[in-house]
Amino acid sequence: METAIDIVLKLVAITVAFTVVLLIVAYTVLAERRVLGLIQGRLGPNRVGYGGMLQPFADLLKFILKEDIVPDKSTRFIYFLAPVIATMAALMTMIVYPFGPEITIPFTSITIPLTIARFDVGLLYVLGITSIGVYGIMLAGWSSNNKYSLMGGLRSSAQMISYELALGLSLIGVIVLAGTLDLGQIVENQSAWHGTRWYILFNPLGFVVYLIAAIAETNRVPFDLPEAETELVAGFHTEYSAMKFALFFMAEYINMFTVSMLATTLFFGGWNVPFLDLIFARGTFIFGLISALGFIFKVCVFLFIYIWLRGTLPRFRFDQLMNFGWKILLPLALLSIFITATLIYAFPNL
């Protein structure tokens, strides 16, 4: 009986988390179009609903109603499988992030943690699932039977393999500082000093490397070579239309969201809002609520940085991308590990 209630609770938690995340993702798309409009001195979509607030749903309706075109010579099964893999891998990492501290529901004694699953290797789980996501793009490029798609898929896999190394190494500093791979524990370690003991203070270089590598991992400007529209039409999703294209589109934005969540969790204290425990007691409902909102706010700041970069920077050339990844970013990541380890050796009580 206990397990049955547990399973139902988990299913409810998964549904709530996925719905909230997908809503935020939908509004990220709108925010991107409005902010890009702002940067480029135009308005952006503002007609559907108040200030364009219903635009994401109009877009969704359009994606669903469009004709779904399947290329004649494509490899059918893999062509259908690829967007599913991309979206699934993007969504599956959502379950380990701590969205907030444990909260007690008012007027009852039920305590629920604001995280869906908590286990010993949360961080490795995130890295593993992220590395599965590359198959979606590769297989999409291959199965479309289109040379632009194939080029996009190959570029993307080469890029993701190269930057995965720097990404993984940039996280080791935090792992060494925290002494655990459990994301919940990592956040709790950062709640000392009234919630300001953030790991970016001890490992700023690691954060810079992580941010750059994460942008490359999500194929965003200035690392959006897999879909460079001036050379490759649209890259790996050239042949995808209607809802299947929407799945790739969603996967990209969900990936942006998850790497932002990881940056927040590892470097910016997760749900810790500075000095909040001086105002509200830890463990109360209002404390949990503000913490969770603080977490979402930090993630949204990262999403804004993504959009800002897209409005600002030009695209890399492919050899620049590879040189940068292997010759600059990777040594910097190693240096950040070295500095962090030295810091801990010099100040063991840090």
């Binding site: 593993g128 198959y135 590769m138 291959w142 194939l150």
Partner: protein, 222 residues
């Protein structure tokens, strides 16, 4: 519940394993192999070894198989024709080897039945990250370091093999704008039909190698 999950993942692993061998399209085989690795990772989680499971997914499914799929895509390997097998002696060998494997599995099953471990032992932390790390850096430090040196040797070997031969410099890469010329155009002592490539970083450098001194002026005159 656990038994059901075990049957699900074990069945998936076996099914995908069969598909790896049975598929004629190499890409389908590779995808089936990824399925095997992921089902195995799920089985590791059920055996309370989450670290091994995560590493299984990261290393095998996320890195090695990406390279395999990459190569299959790059070479565009055709679907294998279903014809007469070329190496006929392989069939009896395969039968014999699988018979040995089945005998081994049967032996293990029987011996496990005989020496049943008492399941009431307290929960251990053997599969967790902390204990694995501690053991790797204390008791098993030497094997761990030897393995890392072995990997380093493999990397250096691969680099050496990839860079051997040719007249291209070690830093040579095909960059938009770089000139790659046949050797016969550059080296006066070479055979006239020697088409091995030589790399130059810029038009100036290529002109210098060719002995054209007034390269800039020439282009201006036109």
């Amino acid at each position: 519940m656990l038994a059901l999950l075990f049957i699900l993942f074990a069945g998936l692993a076996i099914g995908c394993g069969l598909a790896v061998v049975a598929q004629r399209n190499p890409l389908y085989s590779a995808i089936s192999l990824i399925g095997v690795f992921i089902s195995l990772a799920c089985l590791y989680v059920m055996l309370a070894a989450p670290f091994i499971a995560a590493v299984q997914v990261i290393v095998y499914a996320g890195a090695i198989m990406v390279l395999v799929v990459f190569v299959i895509m790059l070479l565009n390997v055709e679907q294998e024709e279903r014809g007469r097998p070329r190496l006929k002696f392989l069939v009896p060998t395969a039968v014999a080897l699988s018979a040995i494997l089945i005998a081994e599995v049967a032996f293990i099953l029987v011996s496990v039945q005989e020496f049943r471990v008492n399941p009431t032992s307290p929960p251990s932390n053997v599969g967790l990250t902390h204990s694995i790390g501690t053991q790797l850096f204390t008791r098993y430090l030497l094997p761990f370091e030897i393995t890392s040196i072995l990997l380093l040797m493999a990397i250096v070997g691969a680099m050496t093999l990839a860079r051997r031969g040719g007249l291209l410099s070690p830093n040579a890469r095909v960059v938009p704008g770089a000139q790659v010329l046949p050797l016969s155009m550059v080296d006066p002592n070479a055979e006239p039909d020697d088409l091995r490539p030589v790399e130059a970083d810029s038009s100036d450098e290529a002109a210098r190698t060719l002995g054209i001194t007034d390269f800039r002026n020439q282009s201006k005159r036109d």
